[in-house]
């Protein structure tokens, strides 16, 4: 599991394919919205968290699209499936690497959001908690569907089409909590929803990934 995660991160650090695209996308979106709407502080309180999580979701697709697709080059996926690591370990390793990459993109774009929208949470710990829970949920869904669509010819199109509807409950919960956190309120029920979502979908993904990969 750790070997796969380290390999994916090492490969990404060397090529920076997904990282560059994802960072550039998230920064450009945040800047464009800031200049296009020049929102007031009341408006930012209303839609700021939505903008932030939409940016994370779309930037995440760029990271997640590459996750299993990079294994198609030279038939590396076959070599991984034929090796003695379990499909679950392969999946979790990839999910950990995706999580690290996506979380890094979020950490990079968070100060951009704070600077251009003049919005900083009163406490950072609750914001990081919701970012961890929400990002893991996005990652686990995205990685599973990345495995599912890896052999499809139109996978770049299919992955977002399949993944975004699944992400809706996570995004709504994460946006609600983030709105509360930015306003300095309690996080609310959404945290328990995200924890349950993470546990359920991680378990389902680990159980079914062998069927997804081998048939």
């Amino acid at each position: 599991m750790w070997t796969i995660a380290a390999k994916d991160l090492h490969s990404e650090l060397r090529t920076k394919e997904a990282w560059n695209a994802s960072i550039a996308f998230s920064v450009v979106i945040l800047l464009l919205f800031a200049f296009a709407f020049d929102p007031s502080s009341d408006q930012i309180r209303e839609f700021g968290s939505g903008l932030l999580w939409m940016t994370y979701a779309f930037a995440g697709a760029l990271v997640l699209n590459r996750s299993f697709a990079r294994e198609l080059q030279n038939d590396c996926l076959d070599a991984l499936i034929a090796s003695p690591i379990s499909s679950a370990a392969l999946f979790v390793g990839k999910a950990l690497a995706n999580f690290a990459m996506l979380f890094a993109v979020e950490l990079f774009s968070l100060p951009v959001f704070g600077l251009f929208y003049n919005t900083w949470p009163p406490h950072f710990a609750p914001l990081f908690l919701v970012m961890v829970l929400g990002t893991w949920a996005l990652t686990i869904i995205g990685t599973l569907f990345s495995a599912l669509t890896v052999n499809l010819r139109l996978r770049e199109l299919m992955l977002p089409t399949l993944v975004y509807p699944m992400m809706i409950p996570v995004l709504i919960a994460a946006m609600t909590i983030t709105t509360n956190v930015l306003a300095g309120n309690a996080m609310g029920f959404g945290v328990r929803f995200l924890v349950a979502f993470d546990i359920i979908f991680t378990t389902l993904a680990v159980v079914f990934v062998d069927t997804v990969l081998v048939g």
């Binding site: 090529t15 038939d75 590396c76 076959d78 070599a79």
Partner: protein, 232 residues
């Protein structure tokens, strides 16, 4: 115990049966050439043996265990159509990665030994994408043999290899045969296959139409097998 037991294996792609009622036993230490024309089902059968795909019906036992068991995969080496190497990693990083995945005690040391063996130790830190085609092929051979597998699966192993890679592969296959390892290779290159094989199996439209020991007659007349058991 047989090295490989294939019992009544069927594989469907939609309604099309790519493999039909395939049954085959392979003894430990034998070298089996899986022969057949393009589309006969050789690659499909090898993929099922390697655990890369599941049969629609039937079972495959490797040394008595299921092909998808982790302990079974530990004992199998696969050299398929692709080189299965990461272009953005160096030669030593590629082999060390697979050494770790196969749970070798000292993967980096073993990777160094293998690079020496396939003649790539001078470029151990070079990225795989910067290698020539022949060097990449030799690195792929090194990866397949890295964990000293007890059962080796080779899918068209000599196709598109350069002279040096063929020499490296032949010497490694010979060394495995000498140590009593089981080798199964699918190919339609009869001459190379029959030179190495102790047994042959002929696949035709997803069915095994002949299996048995490789005879001198097959060596003398490589077309004999297809003329006698195939439909030309």
């Amino acid at each position: 115990m047989n090295a490989l037991e294939i019992s009544d294996v069927w594989k469907y792609y939609g309604d099309f049966p790519a493999l039909r009622e395939v049954a085959l036993n392979i003894e430990p230490g034998s070298t089996m050439a899986l022969l057949g024309r393009n589309g006969a089902g050789k690659t499909t059968l090898l993929r099922i043996i390697a655990g890369l795909s599941r049969p629609s019906r039937g079972s495959i036992k490797i040394q008595g265990a299921d092909a998808r068991e982790q302990s079974t995969r530990q004992r199998i080496g696969v050299l398929g159509h692709g080189i299965a190497l990461y272009d953005e990693l160096s030669a030593i990083e590629n082999l060390t990665l697979f050494g770790k995945l196969y749970g070798l005690p000292d993967p980096r040391n073993r990777a160094d030994e293998m690079l020496e063996r396939v003649g790539l130790s001078r470029v151990r830190d070079g990225l795989a994408r910067e290698f020539s085609r022949g060097m990449r092929q030799r690195l792929a051979v090194g990866r397949a043999f890295l964990h000293d597998p007890e059962v080796l699966l080779l899918d068209e192993p000599f196709t598109a290899l350069d002279d040096r890679a063929i020499a490296v592969l032949q010497s490694m296959i010979q060394s495995m045969r000498d140590r009593g390892r089981t080798i199964i290779m699918s190919t339609h290159q009869l001459r190379e296959a029959l030179d190495l094989a102790s047994h042959v199996a002929l696949l035709q439209r997803g069915q095994i139409v002949h299996t048995g020991e490789r005879t001198q007659q097959m060596l003398d007349d490589t077309g004999w097998l297809y003329r006698t058991y195939g439909d030309n």
